[in-house]
């Protein structure tokens, strides 16, 4: 199924139907419909998601994970602990493959420090590589990478959502890794390449990316859909604190 199968009107209709059908599970035994909702959204948004992944991968001249990796031999990283509640799940299995947790009386704790920073980064690099494999394709000739034009399979969409969940849950870990010695300076240095993306050079090397960049008018497009303080909105609304963490059941 291609994008042309979803004209704007049909897309609106579908979106309306999906949102209107969302229901909170009546009991904890019932699975939430959040997960299929996320599948639907990512399936429809795969092109733009692909552009964002491509932009993130190339904006600093090379993968930002590689830039960080170059600085990790001497990270001088303060040790911090993180908790990821939810029990056993594919997400936790993934974590355990890279950085086994330390069991405490209050549950599993994941440490991020100089000794295991490279393993954490390997996890991010692996997840990102998988995300790229689902959303980007290499051109048959040349070295350029472009966003896939065919709709991803259902299995791919499931993988994409799983990776998104993983990255989202680990974003604080990623933030901590960025505090490693020299990472900020390395990113700033690589930031010089930003200007290339608006230049003819970029237009030649990544014509589609340059086109996308010119359209969004920002190297990294701000997310206007959700503001960072949205969680506060829930407090104001006195939203019940039910678990929406259906990912843990699916991942």
């Amino acid at each position: 199924m291609t994008l042309s199968d979803f004209p704007f009107g049909a897309h609106l209709q579908d979106l309306f139907d999906v949102i209107a059908s969302l229901r909170r599970p009546e009991s904890s035994d019932q699975s939430s419909d959040l997960y299929p909702f996320q599948l639907f959204i990512h399936h429809r948004a795969y092109r733009k998601l692909g552009w964002r992944v491509l932009l993130f991968s190339t904006h600093w001249g090379k993968s930002p994970f590689d830039i960080i990796s170059d600085r990790l031999p001497d990270p001088n990283l303060k040790s911090e602990s993180f908790r990821f509640p939810g029990g056993s799940s594919p997400f936790h299995d993934t974590l355990a493959r890279y950085v086994p947790p330390e069991s405490t009386q209050s549950g599993d704790v994941y440490l991020v420090n100089s000794n295991n920073a490279s393993r954490w980064l390997a996890l991010f690099k692996s997840a990102w590589a998988q995300l790229q494999s689902h959303l980007l394709v290499k051109e048959s000739y040349g070295k350029n990478t472009r966003v896939r034009t065919d709709s991803p399979s259902a299995e791919s969409v499931r993988s994409i959502v799983a990776i998104m969940v993983t990255l989202e849950r680990l974003i604080d870990v990623f933030k901590h890794l960025l505090s490693a010695n020299g990472v900020a300076q390395a990113l700033a240095k690589a930031g010089k390449l930003e200007s290339l993306y608006t230049s003819d050079c970029c237009a030649h090397a990544f014509p589609e990316l340059a086109q996308y960049h010119n359209r969004v008018q920002s190297p990294i497009e701000p997310n206007t859909a959700i503001r960072e303080n949205d969680e506060d909105d829930d407090d104001e609304l006195e939203l019940p604190n039910w678990s929406t963490d259906c990912e843990s059941r699916h991942l």
């Binding site: 704007f8 009107g9 049909a10 897309h11 609106l12 209709q13 979106l15 309306f16 139907d17 949102i19 209107a20 059908s21 969302l22 229901r23 909170r24 959040l34 909702f37 996320q38 959204i41 990512h42 429809r44 948004a45 092109r47 998601l49 552009w51 992944v53 993130f56 600093w60 930002p64 959502v161 998104m164 969940v165 990255l167 989202e168 974003i171 960025l178 990113l187 700033a188 240095k189 690589a190 930031g191 010089k192 930003e194 008018q217 190297p219 990294i220 701000p222 997310n223 206007t224 859909a225 959700i226 503001r227 949205d230 909105d233 407090d235 104001e236 609304l237 939203l239 019940p240 929406t244």
Partner: protein, 262 residues
């Protein structure tokens, strides 16, 4: 809006800015993940809190149907003209800019299958900049702990339901002329966020206009909070656009008379 990055040498002087950009980039990649969960939470909340069918009812009103009390099927052909209307809003240049922004992003949705309706729902920048100058409330007392406002409203049942709907409580009622007045107790935390949009819906549902003395009211609400209507509420407001326009005209007249917030 053109987003202009600082010169490269500024990055060198402030490397942390590069970290901020990187995190912003990752969050942008994760945008659908976070927004879809947010929408799910909101939609199921209102579906659970109010009525199992309320969300669908609210969304169906998005069709901009004249018969606002009748739930109607979602009509794409009715929605598209509504979207286009934002290209030429009535009289507010800032609204026009916002409208153009909406149209731009809506067209993005067409091209990239971005969830357009989600974007509408989660677009907090629109709505209240229009509505907060259109609707005002007679406010009799404000203290640090609470504010009491008077709302002229229709049947008591509607008032009570609406108050419950937004988590407020009616503390007294009175009669003046042919209208009922209800005092609604609002806690400060709500003051900063929800009530304006909610009460707009409240009043619109009762087909009554609001009283027009809001200078103090607006002063106690930070401007940023005014820009933050709850997403689903915004759909509600949108569905009542015709009535909003009508009442807006009335409010405009009163503003000219110095009765409302200018």
């Amino acid at each position: 809006m053109c987003y202009i990055y600082p010169p490269v040498f500024n990055l060198a002087q402030n490397p942390q800015q590069a970290v901020v950009r990187l995190l912003q980039g990752l969050k942008t990649v994760l945008a659908w993940q976070t927004s879809s969960r947010h929408i799910h939470k909101k939609a199921t909340y209102f579906g659970q809190r109010v009525d199992g069918k309320q969300v669908k009812f609210c969304l169906s009103r998005f069709c901009y149907h004249k018969d606002v009390l009748q739930s109607t099927a979602f009509d794409v052909d009715a929605v598209l003209p509504l979207l286009r209307e934002w290209q030429a809003p009535l009289d507010n240049p800032y609204t026009r800019q916002e409208a153009e922004s909406i149209i731009h992003r809506t067209l993005n949705a067409k091209v990239h299958a971005e969830a357009a309706l989600m974007d509408w729902i989660t677009t907090k920048e629109v709505g209240l900049p229009i509505f907060h100058v259109k609707f005002n409330y007679h406010q009799t007392h404000i203290s640090r702990s609470r504010a009491i406002i008077h709302i002229r409203i229709g049947p008591l049942a509607l008032a009570r339901n609406a108050a419950n709907y937004v988590g407020h409580s009616i503390i007294s009622t009175s009669q003046k002329d042919s209208n009922s007045y209800y005092q609604v107790l609002m806690v400060p935390s709500i003051l900063g966020f929800l009530p304006l949009g909610s009460l707009t819906v409240f009043c619109l549902n009762s087909e009554m206009s609001c009283l027009l003395h809001a200078r103090h009211w607006l002063q106690v609400i930070p401007d940023t909070a005014l820009l933050a209507p709850p997403q689903v509420m915004w759909i509600l407001l949108c569905s009542h656009w015709e009535k909003v326009s009508t009442i807006y005209d009335e409010c405009a007249e009163n503003r000219l008379l110095g009765l409302g917030h200018a």
